[in-house]
């Protein structure tokens, strides 16, 4: 009898929920499923469901959804790398009016990047990727090196690699990350990563040449392992301490701590990039596809996800660095991080986030990224000259970006 009553009540409340609450779906990639599960009870008026796919599949699915005009969630998570191709595609709801009053609370460079060429806000930042360098303390101060000296500029950084090599330690897993960091983190104001404001290719510019040169110096000096990133060998390299540094977004900390190399806690530190460069590496956005069945409820969810408390919760749950700059004064930003041997790293991340020069996402970013990486592969692995590789890449970019 009692169970029947319970079942009846449950059925009734389910029915009620179905009638009054909007069912909305958010499409995204890990670790946002963890975050959504942790926070969805805070928005009881809507029934939130998450469709999770891995990073690549999620974006492929989104492309198909946009192409066919159906199948996308009410809210979609978009990696910054795709923003340039997506914001001008006309498939998303203009959020300018909703976002207007609150845009000032978020890192301005990221807000800018979410705008289309028409100046309207199609995507809003939810997490950021302040660019940093993770380093092994046992190969740095414990061996008598001075961090500030090593990070003075890129040459001192490479010189540090040469010293490490004598001790049989690699500077970095794959030299390509150095080139990537260099050209990502030295973008002039108003420029895109690969194109200037007028859409002209920049890939033969000094920024790329120098980045390639640095990577080549490291590769030729035998200071890297030529290990493919995001593969088992790379993870093993972190676990076994094969290499001393890795540059990436601040988010790498979450991966290192949670699953790549949890046992190396206390051996790591984080630093600004050589020469004190500020830059961004990664970050995610939220947007509402025009095909969304319930855009109003979708905005409720976005607003909730980018609210100060939830941004902080995301930082704690999945180490997603908040886009909301108001969070940076939270006491938790002064906490020391055990994994980084007690370093108060969050202040550094916040400082970087506040100082990043905006990089304008461009239509041809995805094509240019592929072709530049291909050129880098040719320089590092096939001995093609930097000049030729970049020229070839530029020629192809010009042809391909139509």
């Amino acid at each position: 009898m009692k169970t029947q009553l319970k079942a009846g009540v449950a059925a009734l409340s389910l029915l009620a929920a179905a009638t009054f609450a909007a069912d909305i779906r958010i499409d995204g990639f890990p670790d946002y499923d963890t975050q959504i599960n942790a926070i969805k009870d805070g928005l009881p008026q809507h029934n939130i469901e998450m469709l999770k796919n891995n990073h690549g599949d999620h974006h492929n699915k989104l492309k198909t959804n946009l192409a066919t005009g159906s199948g996308a969630g009410d809210v979609v998570l978009i990696d910054v790398g795709f923003i340039g191709s997506f914001v001008n595609a006309g498939g998303f709801v203009d959020l300018s009016d909703f976002y207007k009053g609150m845009a000032g609370d978020y890192a301005s460079y990221a807000v800018e990047a979410g705008k289309g060429n028409d100046g309207k806000q199609y995507a809003v930042p939810v997490d950021l990727g302040p660019g940093v360098m993770y380093f092994r303390r046992d190969y740095m101060e414990d061996m008598g090196f001075d961090l500030d000296e090593v990070m003075t500029d890129w040459d001192t950084y490479v010189a540090y690699g040469a010293e490490l090599k004598k001790k049989g330690i690699l500077l970095i897993g794959n030299a390509s990350a150095i080139a990537n960091a260099y050209y990502r983190f030295n973008v002039a104001e108003g420029e895109g990563l690969y194109f200037d404001a007028d859409g002209k290719s920049l890939v033969t510019s000094e920024r790329f040449v120098r980045g390639f040169e640095l990577a080549k110096a490291v590769r030729d000096g035998g200071m890297d392992g030529n290990i493919s990133e995001w593969t088992e060998d790379w993870y093993a390299g972190f676990r076994e301490g094969k290499f001393a540094t890795q540059m990436s977004g601040a988010w790498l900390l979450g991966h290192l701590k949670n699953w790549i190399a949890p046992d190396t806690s206390g051996l790591w530190g984080v630093s600004n990039l050589p020469a004190g460069t500020y830059g961004t590496w990664g970050g995610s956005y939220l947007a509402i596809p025009k095909q969304a069945k319930n855009p109003a409820a979708a905005w409720d969810l976005i607003q909730y996800m980018i609210s100060e408390d939830i941004q902080l919760a995301g930082f704690k749950n999945i180490a997603a660095f908040p886009a909301h700059t108001g969070t940076y004064s939270d006491p938790s930003f002064n906490e020391s991080i055990e994994f980084l041997r007690g370093q108060k790293a969050r202040q550094m991340f916040a400082n970087i986030a506040n100082n990043i020069t905006p990089v304008t996402p461009m239509n041809g970013d995805l094509i240019a990224e592929d072709l530049v990486n291909q050129a880098l592969d040719k320089v590092l692995n096939d001995g093609v000259s930097i000049e030729k590789a970049l020229k070839d890449a530029e020629k192809q970019i010009k042809r391909r970006v139509r």
Partner: protein, 332 residues
């Protein structure tokens, strides 16, 4: 065929009643009703894409911008693709890997099938099943396992080679490897084609073996006996009895290999981690067209590339038919 059933009615009856008309309609179209699920699915997923792709290859289309953004560009996509150095590079990569994996497949499968047949039905059935197993296993799963085995630092292949280079009994042969180990099987442009080809070979050799065993089973035992009486040894029986009679099967198998290998996608895709590494030598034309379509969001150019690939495969197959078709198809 169905109209045959209905036609006697037409002749004898000048005027049809409503019921008869309906009946006639039903007899005529009921079979199509039963066939409709297949026709529908084949139409939507088989026929329509082919024609849509012809249409697409003359348009500029970024799928993310929706169907309405399609823009007619004439032959631009074809011109762009045919003058693209990467297209020819990937075409060459595909061809090299097709040969590296295709030729050994048949050279290995033929004698293997012969031995299997010689061993008698019991052994043959078990072993054919075993050899066929890779073929029915998911390509992606297989490639991922191979990826782990090829791994530079933690892979079993490098571990075994390192052991052989070190161990006393084998170092005379493998000692030279010491300087180059660990080998980046899937990182190095110089090795990737072999690494990919081996996986393809491993996966399809069983399929060809099954074709050849089936072929050998069709050859009458009398012929072998006659040859034996004439004094032919085992090799001569294989060379002069089995091989000529297997020609149609070889023809079939090789044709499938040509078409399949030129479309090679999964193995190189997984082994190069989605085209991130060793892509200069390891990227096939199918990988490239996937990249153009789904990473660069240029569906028109991708459609043009796939038609170019279609023509190339057509040419290869036509050349093969021209030289071997008459024998292969059993004619004189």
């Amino acid at each position: 065929m169905n109209s045959d059933i209905a036609s006697p009615h037409d002749l004898t009856q000048l005027e049809e009643t409503g019921t008869q008309k309906r009946e006639r309609f039903l007899t005529k179209f009921t079979p199509y009703g039963f066939l409709s699920p297949y026709i529908l699915i084949y139409g939507v997923f088989g026929i329509f894409p082919v024609f849509f792709m012809i249409y697409l290859s003359f348009h500029l289309w970024n799928p993310v911008e929706g169907l309405s953004s399609m823009e007619y560009v004439g032959f631009e996509n074809y011109v762009l693709s045919l003058t693209d150095p990467q297209l020819w590079q990937t075409m060459w990569n595909t061809l090299v890997m097709a040969i590296l994996s295709g030729v050994p497949q048949h050279l290995f499968a033929l004698p293997l099938a012969y031995f299997l047949v010689m061993m008698g039905p019991k052994v043959r059935h078990w072993l054919t099943t075993a050899y066929f197993l890779p073929y029915i296993t998911s390509t992606v799963a297989v490639s991922m396992i191979f990826y782990v085995m090829y791994s530079k630092d933690s892979g079993i292949i490098n571990a075994v080679l390192a052991y052989l280079a070190d161990a006393g009994w084998s170092s005379w042969l493998f000692g030279g490897l010491k300087d180059v180990l660990p080998l980046g099987w899937v990182q190095e442009n110089s090795l990737i084609r072999y690494s990919v080809s081996f996986v393809v070979w491993w996966k399809y050799v069983g399929f060809n073996t099954v074709i050849y065993t089936a072929g050998l089973a069709t050859i009458s035992h009398d012929l072998y006996e006659a040859a034996k009486i004439d004094g032919a040894n085992s090799w001569q029986r294989f060379r002069h009895v089995s091989l000529p009679l297997l020609k149609p099967f070889i023809f079939f198998g090789v044709t499938l290999t040509i078409i399949g290998n030129m479309n090679l996608f999964d193995e190189p895709f997984v082994l190069t981690v989605g085209g991130q590494f060793a892509q200069t030598a390891g990227k096939t034309i199918s990988n490239y067209l996937y990249q153009i379509a789904w990473e660069w969001l240029d569906m028109g150019a991708a459609a043009a590339v796939s038609w170019i690939l279609f023509v190339v495969i057509g040419i290869f197959t036509a050349v093969y038919f021209y030289f071997f078709g008459r024998q292969g198809l059993g004619g004189e």
